[in-house]
Assembly symmetry: C2
Homo-oligomer: 238 residues x 2
């Protein structure tokens, strides 16, 4: 989607087995593009779209080291030679570029600013698009539409996640569009204002939130034992 008053190209893409959203962002003028959170199973679809739109993929970015799917990062590096892998330093995962708080990922005239938002994992970050005419952020598994990521595996910590959301995401303007890494109910996006009012977990006190998160009783993630080791290596187990 190219939005009015900006030359941003924006596409949301879905991988149905893991209910993962992948995002393609590009500068329509310079053609420089980034992919956020691609999945290995749909990497070829994403590479084809980049090609059909005449874009130049410069960065393949992850919000964190995923436990529910194998990232498409490594596969995209082979499909689209020249692009670089990007993840947070705190994830301890391998990548060409390791990011810390406040650093930027630039494509054409746009930049994504890194906000560290640990809690689902230690290395979770939220990428905030810096643009005058459209406010958007990519929250990974930190904040989902009317939900949030699990805190019962990897380095999950509910109190940390609560502080991340309130300190780094809910401090953005209310009309900021939020795009999560997953959704299981067919919802595609939300806003800061909506989640501050209607998120059933994060509108609770921190103590109540911790109690809720510690008692979800969820099943062990199906793909975690193969996904995490692979994702620590950009999706490739050499």
């Amino acid at each position: 989607m190219a939005t009015a008053g900006t030359s941003l190209v924006f596409r949301q893409l879905f991988e149905k087995e893991s209910s993962t959203y992948t995002y393609l962002l590009a500068d329509k003028d310079t053609k420089e593009a980034v992919l956020i959170d691609p999945v290995v199973d749909t990497a070829e679809r994403d590479a084809k779209l980049v090609s059909e739109l005449g874009l130049k993929l410069v960065y393949v970015i992850n919000t964190h080291c995923h436990a529910d799917h194998i990232t498409g990062t490594g596969k995209l590096k082979t499909l689209v030679p020249g692009c670089k892998s990007v993840i947070s330093k705190a994830s301890s995962a391998k990548a060409d570029i390791l990011l810390e708080e406040g650093q930027k990922v630039t494509f054409g005239k746009f930049s994504l600013e890194v906000r560290t938002t640990p809690g689902h994992t230690n290395g979770c970050v939220t990428y905030v698009l810096l643009d005058e005419s459209i406010r958007m952020a990519f929250t990974g598994d930190t904040l989902l539409v009317r939900g949030c990521g699990r805190t019962d595996f990897q380095e999950g910590n509910p109190a940390t996640l609560y502080d991340s959301v309130w300190g780094k995401i809910f401090t953005l303007p209310d009309d900021t569009l939020l795009f999560p890494a997953h959704d299981y109910k067919g919802q595609t996006m939300t806003t800061v204002g909506e989640e501050k009012r209607h998120n059933p977990r994060l509108t609770q006190t921190k103590e109540k939130f911790v109690e809720i998160m510690n008692n979800l009783g969820l099943a062990y993630p199906k793909q975690i034992d193969r996904a995490v080791p692979a994702n620590m290596m950009c999706g490739l187990q050499d």
Copy 2:
């Protein structure tokens, strides 16, 4: 999504059993809203979102009489009293408002213009948003991302569909954002320019297109025998 330079609220929603996209559009200022192609199974989700966003649902609109799911129109009329059902006159389906070529559906300062695009069914229409700062159209099953609707049941006719796409959709500006009623590969949208260049079927000659469509060999739609009679009555079989 509220886009820059406009007060349009826009949300794409997905129903996974039938891979259907439902669209919520609203005027942020007047709060008047429309839903396009809701599904009965997700009608409660959609009504809840309308309520949480503080919107007033005025119209529930269908692009055509669907064969693959039961519309949420009737259920939404009971969940959100006061809204009106809308479909094309040529669909022969029951609704509060029956539309013909060139008519408009207005919500706040926005309007959707009706373009009749038969071929998948006789009553298929494309709704074109009339707005200075963002060009978008809702193509139903007439045009899908890199595909198109089937023409082998109901009143399907591939030559008619081809003429509809080339005469009524591909004549829109290349940067018009197109939103389909379905996608099966996790794609959420496309543009006129992209489909004119990359649609594997519609970039063919009309003769070749008809041949392709007459030889798809697809299975009989699972829900058609209960969906079509229900949808002729706004999703309700009274």
